[in-house]
């Protein structure tokens, strides 16, 4: 508190290209002298990283593991762009310290579907044109996937209430609600991982 220098919270990005490989064995490290070893399980794969304890789960996913699907909007838990699942429950990854989630199962938008095998929510977002710029979309989709297993009522108003933690500055809300309702009407138990 007293003599600590004020440094940016975001650890220095790994020097490898952000487009580099995502092998689970490599050790991604930040330069901080306070770096600590942390093992995270993300989308079913183990990752060993050395990170400053200040590193949020969001920054660790993006900067250390190069999983850039999760987005940084407000960085204060107000916009939902960073939404991921921890043990199947949706959370704001910008308000989690990565080092506190060593024994947890973390799922990002990269882990729910693939371009050739979209999650039903992803497919519905495409079918319903549920986005404009797309920045909030990964967070919207992760919230929507979690919503399928939550006690959400059947009406559009219920979906709006359950999705209120995800802001869309383009205002694609009507189509987001339509996409979610389409998935809920099409199937009962979902492949919500």
């Amino acid at each position: 508190m007293s003599n600590q220098e004020e440094t940016p919270e975001r650890p220095e990005a790994d020097t490898r290209s952000a487009l580099g490989q995502r092998s689970g064995k490599e050790v991604a490290s930040s330069d901080s002298k306070n770096a600590i070893p942390v093992t995270l399980r993300v989308n079913g794969k183990k990752h060993d990283v050395r990170i400053d304890p200040r590193t949020t789960l969001l920054d660790c996913l993006r900067e250390n593991l190069h999983l850039t699907g999760s987005k940084k909007g407000c960085d204060h838990g107000q916009c939902g762009a960073c939404t991921v699942h921890i043990n199947g429950r949706r959370v704001n990854s910008c308000l989690c310290f990565a080092a506190m989630h060593e024994e947890d199962e973390i799922t990002t938008v990269e882990g729910i579907g693939q371009p050739e095998d979209l999650h039903p929510v992803q497919a519905a977002f495409v079918a319903c044109d549920a986005y404009q710029c797309g920045y909030c979309t990964p967070g919207q989709i992760m919230s929507a996937v979690a919503l399928l297993n939550e006690p959400c009522g059947s009406e559009d108003a219920d979906v709006k209430e359950f999705m209120s933690g995800n802001i869309c500055r383009c205002g694609a809300y009507p189509n987001i609600v339509a996409a979610i309702q389409r998935v809920r009407q099409n199937a009962k138990p979902q492949k919500a991982r």
């Binding site: 506190m100 209120s164 933690g165």
Partner: protein, 334 residues
């Protein structure tokens, strides 16, 4: 954000011994327990809180909700807000608590935030959150920028000339109306604190918000058995339909027999510097018929000492109508 040491508590005693080395458990504490982190990490990013040590208490066995032999309920400190709100016993016996929690924050935040963390939720006063502005709560003696500034969302009850910050929690308003007890373990042992004695008014020490001392760990909260035949509800008024703090809210727990209120518990949110139990309103309701005139008298009593600021005078009438409407809804089918 200032750097810190992150430790994980393996048992409560060790966590308490470590935390007891701090000079305060209030604003600016050097050592902090961390649960969901939804308040603390946010404030650390703003440099409003700068702990040197964080003790992760999420793996402590404080995550249970259990019925008590007397018919009450015990709620562990790290029970997540969403788990509490959706628990069958809470929905059945303490509807006001479920409704209050679900009216606050977002689904993501409720999945993270804990019971103890919500009890200790910090104000959203923008001057508290902006380190370049004066704030007696954040920096005692620096002054209160809110009193002469943007204070539309701030408190009208329990304020002082040093601080008008609102307690932002919805859960705590329901807890106040339900007469919850907060159980704390510290270096001198365990103690049980009625929620009415847990929060401090700002007075001239707004940096002190609760009675907690260094090392004090909230372990659980207990609720008394539900009053037989009671109806309870939470009514929240705000600028947006969802994901917004209350301008005014009311938690009511009432029992009606033969058209008369045999028991009433009332607490207000969004208007007080702490979760605002109103025994004055309760006294006006006790034994009275469920009429609008009675509800109006209760509302007048609850807001009698209101001290509006330059931009929040509307809250006086808003809070009264909020309470009256909550009482009407809670009694009309009882």
């Amino acid at each position: 954000m200032k750097t810190f040491q992150l430790t994980r508590a393996s048992d409560s005693a060790q966590a308490i011994a470590t935390a007891a080395k701090a000079t305060t458990a209030q604003q600016g504490a050097e050592i902090r327990f961390i649960g969901g982190g939804t308040t603390l990490i946010d404030l650390m990013k703003l440099n409003v809180e700068q702990p040197q040590t964080l003790i992760d208490i999420n793996r402590l066995p404080l995550d249970k909700i259990e019925a008590l032999p007397d018919g009450g309920l015990t709620i562990g400190a790290v029970v997540r807000n969403s788990d509490l709100a959706y628990h069958p016993l809470v929905r059945k016996n303490y509807a006001v608590l479920s409704e209050a929690i679900l009216s606050g924050a977002s689904a993501q935040l409720r999945n993270m935030a804990t019971t103890a963390g919500n009890l200790l939720q910090r104000t959203r006063c923008m001057y508290f959150r902006a380190t370049d502005m004066p704030c007696n709560k954040r920096e005692p003696g620096s002054g209160c920028a809110a009193i002469t500034g943007a204070n539309r969302s701030l408190a009208i009850l329990g304020t002082s000339e040093h601080c008008i910050a609102t307690n932002p929690s919805d859960m705590n308003v329901a807890m106040a109306a339900l007469e919850a007890t907060i159980h704390v373990r510290g270096i001198k042992g365990e103690r049980s604190i009625p929620i009415a004695d847990f929060y401090l008014l700002p007075g001239n020490t707004p940096q002190r918000e609760t009675v907690l001392e260094p090392g004090d760990l909230i372990t659980h909260v207990t609720l008394p058995p539900p009053a037989p035949g009671n109806r309870s509800l939470y009514l929240k008024l705000r600028d947006r339909a969802s994901y917004e703090f209350a301008l005014a809210s009311a938690a009511v727990v009432v029992t009606v027999a033969d058209g008369k209120l045999t028991r009433a518990r009332v607490a207000l949110g969004g208007v007080g510097t702490k979760p605002w139990r109103s025994t004055e309103a309760e006294a006006e309701l006790a034994g009275q018929p469920t009429t609008e005139a009675v509800f109006r008298r209760a509302a007048e009593a609850a807001l009698r000492d209101a001290k509006p600021q330059s931009e929040n005078g509307f809250k006086v009438e808003l809070a009264k109508r909020c309470l009256m409407h909550a009482l009407k809804l809670a009694t009309q089918t009882a």
